[in-house]
């Protein structure tokens, strides 16, 4: 994912892994190249990544809107949804 795609993403995911690493992931919000951006698509893909590829490897996962200085709108801890 290049810099432009990172800037254009609608959602950002911050993940804290069990080994101590902390990584930001950015959403891909288009189903195909010419389609409009859909926020739900991007969030669905990030969730899929969390619960399949990184299953059991992370402690915390916080979803943000991809804008500076925003609070998380969705939080997962130990695989479960947590109240904000």
């Amino acid at each position: 994912m290049n810099e432009k795609e990172r800037q254009q993403a609608l959602t950002r995911l911050w993940v804290k892994f069990k080994d101590g690493n902390k990584v930001h992931f950015y959403s891909r919000d288009r189903k195909s190249r010419k389609q409009k951006t859909d926020r739900e698509v991007g969030i669905g893909r990030l969730k899929k990544m969390l619960f399949t590829t990184f299953r059991g490897k992370w402690e915390k996962a916080w979803f943000y809107e991809n804008r500076p200085q925003t609070l998380p709108f969705m939080k997962y801890e130990d695989g479960k949804r947590v109240d904000l």
Partner: protein
């Protein structure tokens, strides 16, 4: 002549085209053979012809007003229509013949080098006629000449040619017995997110949940028009009810105007509380669920129901949600997908739509039990009567039969009647033997 010029006719495009679409749809539904129907291509030609005809009529009425009885025909040429449609003249001729067969064009006259004159069915044309009056100030007033029949009017979609599909009579799918497979296994944990394969439980549900769902059930909201509210206020003042009249009571007892959006919101809140008690949702997720429910459960408000029908429907929806809750409580293996998927229109496998069959089966079972009880009571009446006992002992056999017959006619169930007459035959045989 001056009077005629002031009161000329004006044809409304939208109404006439809608009538035309309704007429063609009705014609297509009536035809069994696919070849007898009006194809989408032919529909396009009809639309073009009607549009041009309306243009001609409106122009003629401005120059020389006419009456509905002696309406001029549609003057055209096959070649010009063909050029407009982008096809050959032969296609237009074929379309015209087909339309004459369907009675869309009632009369056609050949004028040699001057082309054609066609008369279109007044059933299509007359509903869109407006009476145009020009006042002294030069203002144009339009009034419908034929009163629109609002009772039978439908909310027609845009003029898009309908696909002509035939009913599949060879389908062997029997939908009466699909109730068992509603709780099929999930495709994967990632997809549903609520089902844990190790514990074989729905992860959203932790610990026992009370089955008293009645406490969550919201009342059906009623929205009264502001004008009616004013009227009711005035009537209350006239009746000297005092200034502190309770508006809330009025809202619940008011006669008109259910807001379907409010019904939908009530249903969503109730369903989420009952089916997903521990779920945490943020704003956009909630909006997504509402959209899904609006589309799948309330059919985007395309169905035109009365207030009473909506109230009944809402009650039925609550009942269905309760049924799902009971089904989930019965066995920990039972599960339902996330609300976003559960209320999705295209979820044919384990969506909320499947509960309709549950509801149907439940209702038919209830009715059957009720009928069985009725027959049992009648049987008892007959046997008691033969022994000279019971509440009808002083009546004759004919009187008892008439009473039962009246009761059965009130119910209106043929199967119940058959069972009753079978019992009656038995009774008459035994009573004649004894005699």
């Amino acid at each position: 002549m001056n009077h005629k010029k002031n009161n000329r006719l004006h044809f409304e495009y939208g109404t006439v085209l809608r009538n035309m679409k309704a007429y063609l749809d009705g014609h297509n539904k009536r035809q069994e053979n696919l070849t007898d129907r009006i194809s989408s291509n032919c529909r396009g030609t009809t639309e073009l012809m009607v549009r041009l005809y309306l243009k001609q009529l409106n122009r003629i009425s401005r120059l020389d007003p006419f009456d509905l009885e002696d309406m001029p025909g549609f003057r055209t040429y096959n070649t010009s229509l063909a050029a407009e449609r982008g096809c050959t003249a032969r296609t237009i001729i074929n379309h015209r013949e087909r339309l004459m067969k369907a009675n869309v064009i009632i009369k056609a006259k050949r004028l040699g080098a001057d082309g054609l004159e066609l008369w279109i069915n007044p059933e299509i044309m007359f509903k869109g006629v407006m009476k145009a009056e020009i006042s002294e100030g030069g203002c144009l007033k339009l009034e419908p000449l034929v009163a629109p029949d609002k009772g039978n009017m439908k909310n027609f979609p845009t003029l898009v040619p309908e696909t002509q599909e035939q009913i599949n009579n060879n389908s062997s799918v029997d939908k009466s017995g699909v109730l068992a497979d509603i709780g099929g296994w999930p495709d994967g944990n990632a997809r549903t997110g609520t089902f844990d394969r190790n514990t074989q439980k729905n992860t959203d549900i932790e610990g026992p949940i009370s089955t008293d769902t009645e406490e969550y059930r919201p009342e059906i909201r009623i929205v009264i028009d502001p004008q009616e509210q004013k009227k009711s206020k005035e009537t209350q003042k006239n009746a000297d009810s005092g200034p502190g009249a309770d508006l809330e009571e009025q809202e619940h007892t008011g006669p008109e105007g259910i807001s379907i959006r409010h019904l939908m919101e009530d249903f969503v809140s109730y369903a989420l509380k009952v089916l997903y008690p521990n779920i945490i949702l943020c704003g956009f997720e909630m909006d997504g669920i509402k959209n899904r429910v609006w589309e799948s459960v309330y059919k985007s408000n395309r169905v035109r129901n009365t207030d009473k029908e909506w109230r009944d429907y809402q009650g039925m929806l609550f009942e269905r949600v309760d049924m799902v809750r009971r089904w989930l409580d019965r066995n920990p293996v039972h599960w339902i997908p996330e609300p976003n998927l559960y209320f999705y229109v295209q979820n044919k496998k384990n969506g909320f739509d499947k509960t309709w069959l549950w509801y149907l089966r439940n209702e038919t079972l209830k009715l059957r039990i009720k009928n069985e009880q009725r027959v049992k009571i009648m049987k008892k009446d007959l046997s008691d009567h033969s022994k000279g006992k019971g509440r009808f002992k002083h009546r004759t056999r004919l009187q008892l039969f008439q009473l039962h017959k009246k009761h059965l006619n009130g119910i209106g169930d043929d199967r119940l009647k058959q069972v009753y007459f079978h019992e009656l035959n038995k009774y008459t045989r035994t009573s004649t033997r004894k005699a």
